[in-house]
């Protein structure tokens, strides 16, 4: 690795500046194009847990998906793990191998067993020996509490179990950064807890960017909360600030909507 592409200096893992992404309207729909990102800035340093919150359509998911190249911003600068993600010459696979992603709908590989879901990428991408990858996969499944399902197909698992497998699958690549895209939004309420528990446990030793509607999780685990609206970060800071004493009126309006009926700790 050259100095320019090596590990980011000062432990800065994500450095996004002025990201813009416009989805053109469907031809003939008569609707205006959608500005999903409109001057999005975000810096994430090693060890941070950053939660992105905001109303639907605020650009949270687009921003997160830009961090591992699933979306391509039209303008701005974006460095992830020291790589310039908007450089067309960049081998995106190299970055993606080091950035774990957990999706709202799990996206487990249904034709492979749970264990094979975990070993596929380490063997194919990292070239690890199969038995070594399997051994480590079993350890990871143990850690997320589903080692007994290693031989099952994902279809036989509950939503909560699926998402725990998805987290273990991402961890099997030894990522330096983990991205979570609304990891509990597709779960039945009684399964949210077990997934958050795994994420809470992981937060001690991983840098994470989490798009979430779980304000309790954000308050407890996040080192920083960023509130997005209209494709940009409107307000950010420690959870005690953003969630409990929001300065921006739009943050306040959003929090009032999502926290309706829940006790809010007094400052």
């Amino acid at each position: 690795m050259s100095a320019a592409e090596g590990p980011a200096s000062g432990g800065v893992l994500v450095d996004a500046r002025g990201l813009t992404k416009v989805y053109p309207a469907a031809w003939g729909s008569g609707r205006p194009p959608v500005r999903a990102l409109d001057g999005f800035d975000l810096t994430v340093t090693e060890g941070e847990i950053v939660c992105l919150i905001g109303p639907s359509g605020s650009g949270k998911s687009t921003a997160l998906r830009a961090l591992n190249g699933l979306e391509h911003p039209d303008a701005g600068t974006l460095r992830v793990l020291g790589h310039d993600l908007l450089d067309p010459e960049l081998d995106m696979d190299l970055v993606r191998a080091d950035v774990g992603m957990v999706f709202q709908h799990f996206n487990l590989f249904p034709h492979r067993t749970v264990l094979d879901n975990l070993t596929l990428a380490p063997v194919l991408v990292r070239g690890r020996p199969v038995d070594e990858a399997r051994r480590e996969a079993l350890e990871l499944l143990e850690r997320v509490g589903i080692a007994d399902k290693a031989g099952e197909r994902p279809g036989r698992l509950s939503g909560g179990q699926k998402q725990r497998v998805a987290i273990a699958r991402a961890l099997a690549m030894h990522p330096r950064l983990m991205l979570f895209d609304e990891p509990t939004s597709a779960l039945d309420p009684e399964m949210v807890g077990e997934v958050l528990e795994v994420m809470r446990d992981l937060a001690h030793r991983m840098t994470m960017v989490v798009v979430t509607h779980e304000m309790g999780f954000a308050r407890e685990v996040a080192t920083r909360v960023a509130f997005l609206d209209g494709g940009r970060v409107v307000e950010e800071g420690p959870p005690s600030g953003v969630l409990d004493q929001p300065r921006h009126p739009r943050t306040r309006a959003f929090l009032e909507r999502v926290l309706v009926g829940r006790p809010r700790p007094t400052p």
């Binding site: 591992n68 699933l70 709908h105 590989f109 194919l124 991402a170």
Partner: protein
């Protein structure tokens, strides 16, 4: 009259109409025809057998060409690279947009000499390229039918596009691809009869030869039809078995 009764009546009427139609056609067939299965079987059936063998050869060789070619072209059509997509598009449109009979003529009269193809080679190339266009569309539809999240998850783990395609997307697309692929195999088998026009002595060619040599018409053509049908049925059953074998495992669970 109740709904059920009405339905029963309608069904009975449909059956009756179909039976009447068949009876009408059969009644118009030349009943004075001098059947002679004995002579046909003794003197001519062997020629049809030879033709059948060549039909099997040209159809399987065409399939061996069409399948990999169709898969590659189909994947090209789903690629992100615009050049690959264009190549796929042109391939499909050219081979799907012209009559097979015309293509066979071009392979035989225009391309066979510069490419050094025998009659058999020209027939295989024509059938293979023609079928590959349809197989490409089948593969494309199958691949596009797999949830986009599967490709995203695989790419997020660092797999390349082709690794993700091979290990994650294609295995899940196979089940959707198999039934239309079976139809395409059968179409290829039947289309091989067109190779008779360039003098390739497959089943249809031999049947015509038998007709002109023996002055029999009913026996050779009915036999040829039965032989084609028999191979089609074997193909159908084979694919259905394969489907059932694949169906037990992943496919059911692919539906979240």
């Amino acid at each position: 009259m109740t709904r059920t009764q009405r339905r029963r009546l309608a069904r009975a009427a449909a059956y009756a109409a179909a039976a009447l139609l068949v009876a009408l056609v059969v009644s118009r067939i030349d009943l004075d025809y001098a059947w002679d299965w004995g002579r046909f079987g003794r003197d001519w059936l062997g020629l049809l057998g030879k033709g059948l063998l060549l039909t099997l050869q040209v159809a399987s060789a065409g399939l061996l060409l069409a399948l990999p070619l169709g898969v590659v072209v189909g994947l090209c059509r789903t690629a992100s690279d615009p050049g690959a997509r264009l190549v796929g598009f042109v391939h499909v449109e050219v081979f799907r947009g012209t009559p097979l009979l015309v293509q066979i003529m071009i392979w035989y009269h225009v391309l066979a000499r510069p490419l050094g193809l025998s009659t058999f080679g020209a027939a295989v190339a024509a059938l293979g390229c023609f079928a590959s266009a349809y197989i490409a569309e089948i593969v494309r539809a199958g691949v596009q039918g797999v949830d986009r999240g599967q490709m995203e998850a695989a790419r997020s783990l660092g797999l390349s596009h082709w690794q993700a395609m091979r290990h994650v997307v294609l295995p899940q697309a196979v089940r959707a691809i198999l039934p239309p692929l079976a139809s395409e195999f059968i179409a290829l088998l039947k289309d091989s009869s067109l190779a008779s026009v360039i003098g390739f002595s497959e089943l249809t060619y031999q049947t015509r030869a038998v007709q002109s040599g023996s002055f029999m018409t009913f026996e050779p053509w009915l036999t040829a039809a039965a032989l084609y049908l028999a191979i089609s049925l074997v193909l159908s059953l084979g694919v259905r078995l394969l489907e059932r074998k694949l169906g037990g495992g992943a496919a059911q669970e692919a539906i979240r």
